[in-house]
Structures are given as structure tokens and as C-alpha cells.
């Protein structure tokens, strides 16, 4: 009995010792990644040395570490998906993966991970990809320090950078995404974190959330994307410290909220967007400490919104601070700083003594006849805004900030 135990133990030892390294290079014994994978066992490391490897359709079904040394290039020659992974405890690091196949019927990706757990994808450079990292039905993954660059031209013929579908507990950090359809796309994803990514000049959204609950994204920068960032049909999403910059166009938003429930939006910066935040059918959302500067519309509330609370935000020099085309419902605006506020503070408590009306008559007119936007900042518009301020007729008269701040919140 004792012997048997010892034998088993010994076997264990041996097998762990046998977890070996396989080197791949043009002058090595093993010349292709596929060959290396066929030789590898669970727990092995595959070191890929500098060089160009023209391979695609590489299936990874073992728990291996694939590590690039000196950024080797894996060229898919525009054929199909390059890595297809279906394994637990694996990692892919330090590779330059280029030329993923394009297709209108199949979602080809640089790395496709499906039904996997505990994996790491880091320090990779992906160029000319269709989909970049496509993760489906997986858990506990870390996607870190990757750089994804593509040259998407039209929405139908392009893919997303980091695309997650039916996954949980993922961490997406420090990635750079540009020239894709959506920078990061979440669909049915739970308990995940998106942090410190830079998503810019993508064709559609910098970040796109669909049906993804209990997620968090913070410290990201979204610049100059076709339509900004969209968060739709999700619950318990937390958005903090992000920057939404220069998303210009008629259907472009810093942040689009559609059917969102119980979200926290804090410490974000919205700068020079056509619409800072567009809120549509969203309920129980707290907007706190955000800064809206030089946007066309800082906030556009479209309808069916309840219990949205806007507190301690800075509204700085936006063309239109707020556009509101439904009843006030149970939404509140309180203790914000409005650069347009002209009231006074006689008791010196830092809170203006006269309530502020964020909705101007002009924003009402601009909503009904969009062309009238060319009259922005004209004297006539100032005059009608003023008369509306004195006696509100068209704008909801109970839409007030009762304690507007006198000083900008730092």
C-alpha cells in the first residue's frame, strides 16, 4: 500500500518535472506553432522565438503557455481565425498576430477563446484583425496590455476589438484599441471589469455593452469614436473616472444609456462631445461629480426615465446644458455647478439663493426644429431664453436646481 502511494507520488513528481519547454524557431527542431502544440502536454511552455510564422487555424486544446520572445509575428494571411483555444489554465503572451481573414458570415478572430477558464492574454499586438480577441462562454480571464489596430471601413465588413459573449469574471486592462468596429463589446457578460483602456477612432462605439449586468468600468479614455460609448439593456453597471472626448456627429454620444437600471456614474469627464450623455428609458441612476465641458448638449433626457439623480456635477460652457422632452418625473437636479448660472449668494454658504433652470427655451426649440441650431448664441435667442426664464411657458417649470453651487467642484 505504502509502495503504491510512493509510486503515485513519484509519478506525480515526474509528470510535473516533465512540464517542459518547447522552443519554436525557424532554425529549431520544431519549426511551427502547430507542431509544437501537437508535441506539448498540459502545463508545458511553448517559447516562440523571433521570426514570421505563416500559420492560421491553430487549435489549442491543452493547458499550455504560449510565450513570444522578441515579438514574433504570426501571419494568418487573411484566411481564417488564427488561434482557436478551448482549454483551461492557458496563456498567450507577447505575440504579434496579423492579417485575420474577413468574412460576412463567420466571425474570424485573431484569438478565439471558447468555453475556457483561467486564462491570460497579454502583451500581444494585433494588427489588421477582423475580430481581435473573441471570448465566448468563458470565465476568469485576464486580458491585459494588448494593442489592437485595424483598418475598419464599413460596419458590416468589420469586427470588434475585444468581443465578449456569455462570459463571467473577466478583467480587461490597459489595452489600446483603434480602427475597429466596436473597441470593446460585451454581450451577456457578468461581474467583469474594464479598466485603463484607451479606445479611439473606432467606427462605431468605443465601448458597447449589451445585456451585461454587474460590470464595472473605470479609468478608460474614449476619444473620437464614430458614435461614442453605448451602454444598453444592463443593470448594476458602475462607471467611474472615464473620459469621453470629442465624439462628434448627429448620432454620436459621449455616453448613450438605453434601458439601464441601477447604475452609478461618477467622476467621469465629458468633453467636446455632440451629446455628453443621452439618457433613454433609464432608471435609478446616480450621476455624481462628473464634469461636462464644452459639449453641444451636456445631457439629453429622452424619455421614460425615473429616479435619475444628478448631484455635484460641473456643467461648463456647454452650448445647451440640458435637453428634456418629457415630464420631470422623479428625476432630480441638485447641488450642481452651472457655468451659466447668474444668481447670487447673499448668505455666503456657497449655494446660490436663486434656483437655476437648466432647460432653456432654445433647447426646446432646437429639439423641435433641429436646423435652428445655427442660431445658437445669437442675441435673439438670448432674449427669448431670458423671457422664458422669467416666466416659464414651454419648459417644465418644476425642473429646477434648487441649490446651484457658486464654485466649480474640483
Amino acid at each position: 500500500m505504502k509502495n503504491l502511494r510512493l509510486t503515485i507520488l513519484a509519478l506525480f513528481f515526474c509528470s510535473s518535472l516533465l512540464a517542459s519547454q518547447i522552443e519554436v524557431c525557424n532554425s529549431c527542431q520544431v519549426k511551427s506553432i502547430k507542431q509544437a502544440l501537437s508535441l506539448a502536454k498540459d502545463g508545458d511552455e511553448i517559447l516562440i522565438k523571433e521570426g514570421v510564422y505563416k500559420e492560421s487555424g491553430i487549435a489549442v486544446d491543452k493547458s499550455v503557455k504560449i510565450i513570444g520572445v522578441g515579438l514574433p509575428t504570426v501571419d494568418g494571411e487573411h484566411k481564417e481565425t488564427i488561434f482557436t483555444v478551448k482549454a483551461n489554465n492557458f496563456s498567450i503572451e507577447g505575440l504579434r498576430i496579423i492579417n485575420v481573414g474577413h468574412s460576412y458570415t463567420k466571425d474570424f478572430a485573431a484569438i478565439l477563446v471558447s468555453k475556457s477558464k483561467n486564462f491570460t492574454l497579454q502583451n500581444n499586438v494585433l494588427e489588421k484583425v477582423f475580430f481581435g480577441l473573441l471570448i465566448e462562454k468563458s470565465r476568469y480571464g485576464i486580458i491585459k496590455n494588448n494593442k489592437l489596430i485595424s483598418d475598419a471601413e464599413d460596419q458590416a465588413g468589420s469586427g470588434n476589438g475585444i468581443h465578449l459573449w456569455h462570459s463571467e469574471d473577466m478583467q480587461i486592462e490597459n489595452n489600446e484599441l483603434t480602427g475597429l468596429r466596436d473597441g470593446i463589446y460585451f454581450e451577456f457578460v457578468k461581474n467583469s471589469m474594464v479598466r485603463n483602456n484607451r479606445s479611439y477612432e473606432n467606427l462605431r462605439y468605443g465601448l458597447h455593452f449589451m445585456f451585461s449586468n454587474n460590470n464595472e468600468y473605470n479609468d478608460n479614455v474614449f476619444t473620437n469614436n464614430g458614435a461614442g460609448v453605448a451602454v444598453m439593456f444592463s443593470k448594476f453597471v458602475k462607471m467611474t473616472n472615464n473620459q469621453f472626448i470629442q465624439n462628434w456627429g448627429s448620432a454620436s454620444y459621449g455616453l448613450l444609456l438605453k434601458e439601464i437600471y441601477d447604475a452609478e456614474i461618477e467622476n467621469n469627464t465629458f468633453s467636446k462631445n455632440t451629446i455628453g450623455i443621452s439618457v433613454d428609458g433609464s432608471t435609478r441612476i446616480n450621476y455624481k461629480n462628473n464634469t461636462f465641458s464644452r459639449n453641444g448638449w451636456a445631457i439629453k433626457v429622452v424619455g421614460a426615465c425615473y429616479e435619475n439623480h444628478f448631484n455635484q456635477n460641473n456643467f461648463l460652457h456647454n452650448a445647451i446644458d440640458l435637453s428634456y422632452n418629457s415630464k420631470i418625473n422623479s428625476n432630480t437636479f441638485d447641488s450642481n455647478y452651472w457655468s451659466e448660472y447668474t444668481g447670487y449668494d447673499l448668505d455666503k454658504n456657497g449655494i446660490g439663493d436663486v434656483p437655476y433652470r437648466p432647460v432653456k427655451l432654445f433647447s426646446y426649440i432646437a429639439h423641435r426644429t433641429p436646423e435652428s441650431i445655427v442660431l445658437l448664441r445669437s442675441l435673439f435667442v438670448d432674449i427669448i431664453n431670458f423671457s422664458e426664464k422669467v416666466s416659464p411657458v414651454f419648459t417644465p417649470d418644476n425642473l429646477l436646481d434648487n441649490s446651484p453651487l457658486m464654485q466649480k467642484i474640483q
Binding site: 448620432a251 453641444g296 460652457h317 452650448a319 426649440i365 436646423e371 445655427v374 435673439f380
Partner: protein, 260 residues
């Protein structure tokens, strides 16, 4: 012509009103910057002031100067000189001195507050260019009115009315027509309508820099082309120059037939 220009210019430079005007802009610039220390915000406020005030001052100055110096002008007309040179000299004299007041009055405080360090330098430059254009345009328009009306009171009345019309009433009519014809495609119309009013035109020119994000909010290919590219800037500047040239040309035409 250069001599007349010089005389008019020095005459105005010596006049109290130029100094008042200069001091006003100087004070305005300092107060704006002192109060909020934010160059961006100061520029937005300045925009509102410049597009309303420079036309008003230009108009009043133009009309006033014409009527005040009428006797001197008649004396000059008796000399062997072309009418054109006399009036163009006067016109340029007023416009240049007003523009100088504007540029120096606003330039000095902004310079002292470090406009060159700020990214707003281009916005500010454009603001000054637009202000100068407005001076030239409205002095020319005022001269047109003054030349056509020998009655001083009438001339002043028309001049003020013209300012009121272009600064306020025009936009009102414009907005009403936009709302009435809501059902029709209006993007071409609205761009064209701004071209026919120098105040609107200069506003649009500055908005192109300051509020481009809002202007792009409207769906329309024409808008997108106009506002999204440099096309808008070029066209606006071109039409602005037309707004100077056409009134000046009309002054000359009027002069040929006028019986002094």
C-alpha cells in the same frame, strides 16, 4: 486718398470717442479675465459682446462722422480731387481707427494674461478678425445710409433700425420661418439665411471654432459638409469680404450721381 485717410484717422484718433471706445474694450477685457480667470469662458462672453456691440458702434460712428464732417467734406469737394478718394479715405480712416481700438483694447489684457500660452489663441484671433470685419461692414453700411439721407435725424433713425434689424429682428424672423416651414427640408435655407446677415455670419464663423460639437448634432449632409470641413470657414470668410466690398462699391456708385 492716403492723405485724406491720414487726416480722418488722426482726426478720429484725437477725438474723445475713440479713447472711450478703446478704454471700454480695455476695461471689458481686464474685467472678464480678472473675474473668471478662464480664457475659454472669457472668449464666449466676448463673442456675445462683439457680435452685438461692434456693429452698433460701427454704425453710429459711421453716421455720426459723416454728418459731423459734412462741411469739411464739402470744402474738400471744392478742391480738384476725385470724390472717390475723399470718401474712401474717410471710410478707411474710421474703419481702421475703430478696428485699432478693438484690437488694442482687447489684445492688451489678453496678452497680459498669457493668451499665447493658451490653446485659445486661435479662437481669440478669429474673434478679432471677425470684429474687424464687422467694423468695416457696418461703417460701410452706415455711410451708405448717410449718403442717401441728407436729413440727419432720418439718417440716424435708419442706421439704428438697420442695426436692430440685423442684430435681433432678422434672427427672430429667421427662427419663425424655420418653425413655420418645419415640414420642409430647411438645411440649405438656414445656411443661406445666415449668409445674408453679417452678424449671423460672424457668429457662425466663431461657432465653427467654439461649438462645433453642437453644430454637428443636426443630421444633414449639407450641414455636415459645411460645418465638418474647412468648407464652412472658407465660404464664410469669402461672404464676409463680399459684405465689405458690395457696400463700398455702392458708396462709389452713389457718389457718382450725388449732388452735394
Amino acid at each position: 486718398m492716403f492723405k485724406i485717410l491720414k487726416y480722418s484717422f488722426y482726426d478720429l484718433m484725437r477725438s474723445r470717442w475713440s479713447y472711450v471706445y478703446f478704454a471700454f474694450y480695455l476695461a471689458l477685457g481686464f474685467v472678464l479675465l480678472f473675474l473668471n480667470n478662464d480664457v475659454d469662458k472669457a472668449i464666449i462672453t466676448l463673442l456675445n459682446i462683439i457680435i452685438v456691440l461692434t456693429p452698433l458702434i460701427g454704425t453710429i460712428f459711421g453716421v455720426m462722422y459723416y454728418y459731423n464732417s459734412k462741411e469739411f467734406t464739402e470744402l474738400l469737394l471744392a478742391q480738384p480731387m476725385k470724390r472717390n478718394t475723399i470718401f474712401l479715405g474717410q471710410y478707411l480712416g474710421i474703419s481702421i481707427s475703430l478696428t485699432l481700438s478693438l484690437i488694442l483694447g482687447l489684445g492688451i489684457p489678453f496678452l497680459l494674461y498669457g493668451i499665447f500660452m493658451s490653446s485659445a489663441i486661435f479662437d481669440f484671433g478669429l474673434l478679432l478678425v471677425v470684429g474687424s470685419f464687422l467694423n468695416f461692414i457696418f461703417v460701410a453700411l452706415a455711410y451708405n445710409i448717410a449718403l442717401s439721407n441728407s436729413n440727419k435725424i432720418k439718417g440716424f433713425g435708419y442706421a439704428i433700425l438697420m442695426w436692430l434689424f440685423l442684430a435681433v429682428i432678422y434672427d427672430g424672423l429667421f427662427l419663425i420661418s424655420l418653425m413655420v416651414f418645419n415640414e420642409y427640408p430647411l438645411d440649405n435655407f438656414s445656411l443661406l439665411a445666415t449668409m445674408f446677415n453679417p452678424i449671423d455670419l460672424s457668429r457662425i464663423l466663431i461657432l465653427l471654432k467654439l461649438d462645433i460639437s453642437a453644430l454637428l448634432g443636426y443630421t444633414g449632409a449639407v450641414f455636415k459638409k459645411f460645418f465638418g470641413t474647412n468648407f464652412g470657414l472658407v465660404i464664410s470668410l469669402f461672404v464676409m469680404s463680399l459684405w465689405v466690398l458690395i457696400p463700398v462699391w455702392r458708396i462709389q456708385r452713389k457718389l457718382r450721381k450725388k449732388d452735394f
